[in-house]
């Protein structure tokens, strides 16, 4: 079943058309990859899909509902979570608070102006469980700032997962990571794919080819081709490239 379907998206910034006729569908329970060279419009595309920008034309249907033009918090509450390429965390606080703030159970009680946001043991446990999923349970009470680069990436993902989303958008999760951390991240995503639908923007094609069920290639602000890793690999020029070793 197609969980998420974007059709004919267009985005202009002033006189510049950044995205043109973007169409992509994401099947429930799959990992969908978006790749493309630098400056091709991947991140803008991501911003459109997650509601940071509203498209000028086209529709985005999520679980049967057109979400194009909805504000980000509404989209988030519908079950779409995302991470950021430039790391975007609540930096002045402790690790677990980042996750807590994203938990639906916490959001349900933000109307409470008295009392302690962290007195509820079940909330803490839920947050710890999410952190555990990404391997950060031990650092739960450390300062967010003190996390290593790789752990911050993991926390980005944890924050996205804490919202109990149906689909998770991850924006270049490997950027800046070393070989070891990238491998750990790939393992993490493999574990997650059983529970979530995932859309990944990636620069690192080997990483993507190893993980994704389908891949859309974006260049010049358009989807220039789309297919399973195997289909894409069938092209003789692709086969000639270093990608061949990835699969």
């Amino acid at each position: 079943m197609t969980l998420f379907q974007a059709t004919g998206l267009q985005k202009r910034f002033g006189a510049r058309v950044v995205l043109e006729n973007i169409t992509l569908g994401i099947e429930e329970g799959t990992v969908h990859g978006i790749m493309g060279p630098n400056g091709a419009g991947k991140t803008t595309c991501f911003h459109l899909l997650t509601g940071h920008h509203a498209p000028d034309a086209g529709s985005i249907v999520f679980a049967g509902r057109n979400i194009a033009g909805l504000p980000p918090h509404r989209i988030a509450r519908l079950g779409i979570a995302r991470s950021f390429q430039i790391m975007n965390l609540f930096d002045d606080t402790v690790v677990i608070e980042n996750v807590l703030l994203a938990l639906p159970a916490f959001k349900a009680q933000t109307g409470r102006i008295f009392g302690n946001g962290f007195a509820d043991r079940t909330l803490i446990d839920a947050a710890l469980a999410v952190l555990d999923m990404v391997g950060l349970a031990d650092s739960a009470w450390s300062k967010t700032k003190s996390l290593s680069y790789g752990n911050r990436r993991a926390l980005e993902i944890a924050v996205a997962l804490a919202a109990e989303p149906r689909i998770v958008f991850l924006d270049e999760p490997t950027s800046g990571l070393g070989v070891e951390a990238t491998r750990a991240l790939a393992a993490l995503i493999r574990r997650l794919r059983t529970r979530y639908t995932i859309c990944l923007i990636e620069h690192d094609m080997r990483f993507l080819f190893g993980l994704a069920d389908r891949i859309s290639v974006i260049h010049w602000g358009q989807v220039i081709t789309e297919g399973t890793p195997a289909e894409l690999m069938a092209n003789k020029w692709v086969a000639r490239s270093s990608l061949r070793e990835a699969v």
């Binding site: 608070e97 703030l101 959001k107 924050v159 919202a163």
Partner: protein, 339 residues
Amino acid sequence: MINLSDIPPKGGSPFILPMAAFLVLLVAAPFLVARFGLYHYLAIEIAIWIIFAMGFNLLFGYTGLHSFGHGAYLGIGAYAFGLFQHNVSISLWGGLGAALLAAMVAGGFVALFLSHRRGIYFALLSIAFGQIFWFSSIKLHRITGGEDGLLGIPRPPLQIGDATLALADNRIFYGFVAALAALVVIGLWRVVNSPFGRVLQAIRQNEMRARFVGYDVWRWKWLAFTISATFAGLAGALLAMAQNSAYPDVMSLHQSGLVVMMVLVGGGLVNFWGPILGVLLYFLAREVLGGLTETWLLWYGLMFVVMVMVRPEGLAGLIGTARRREAPVPPARIVETTP
């Protein structure tokens, strides 16, 4: 930046040392001012400004919205209180209610415009609205008494059940203001540590992230502004009682700038208690330096400049740095102490 309220071991419980120290100070203030050769009225003014500054810091320090026109809501509270006494009835609770409501409505209206703005545009719009309120308070002199102020505002007696307590005497009135200040500070302490307060702080730290986690940031900013304007209205009503008048000057840019200065010097950006330290420092500096030299503002200004240069976290930051050298609380204990 340091977190405003590092997750406290007893999260939001008011039974903590600084709170105790504050309450003791509040109770002892009338005796202390006398001991240092100062006067009761000063203690009243300080307690009122503590209410104002603490409410302001919910917006400024906790939500990270830099309003430079908050004096307006102080003034609106004062006028509303006075007008209620003059035109409706001499009633303490009625007047306070009117002041809170007026400041809340005014703040809520302005916040409609401000909540979508950020940074300098937010600051500037807050100034513009503040100036318009200030200007109107002078312009509508038939209602407000213009720049002479709204005079002859009584201090209605405090009535709780059948008991009545006259507030005309400064000492008794101080007791009333101090009690309110204590309530406000305890209340705010609970608020900033509550889920509600957590979200405000999250918005300060990263507005975009908060939005993508699913918070309607616009509405939260609106709420924070309106609430802090309401606190300003309370302070304004008390100020009107203290001075038996409401003056437009408190609404001027200069006064709005002063509260920013106090909050910052005290360390409101990094610490819950910062605004209180800032208010104390300002008023004591004014009384002591002001008694010695007419150019005391020059010295206060210099101190402020140096502070921003070398210690932008303010007084509380200074104390905080000293305290952070101690070992951090083990995380396990934090979880365990929460019931």
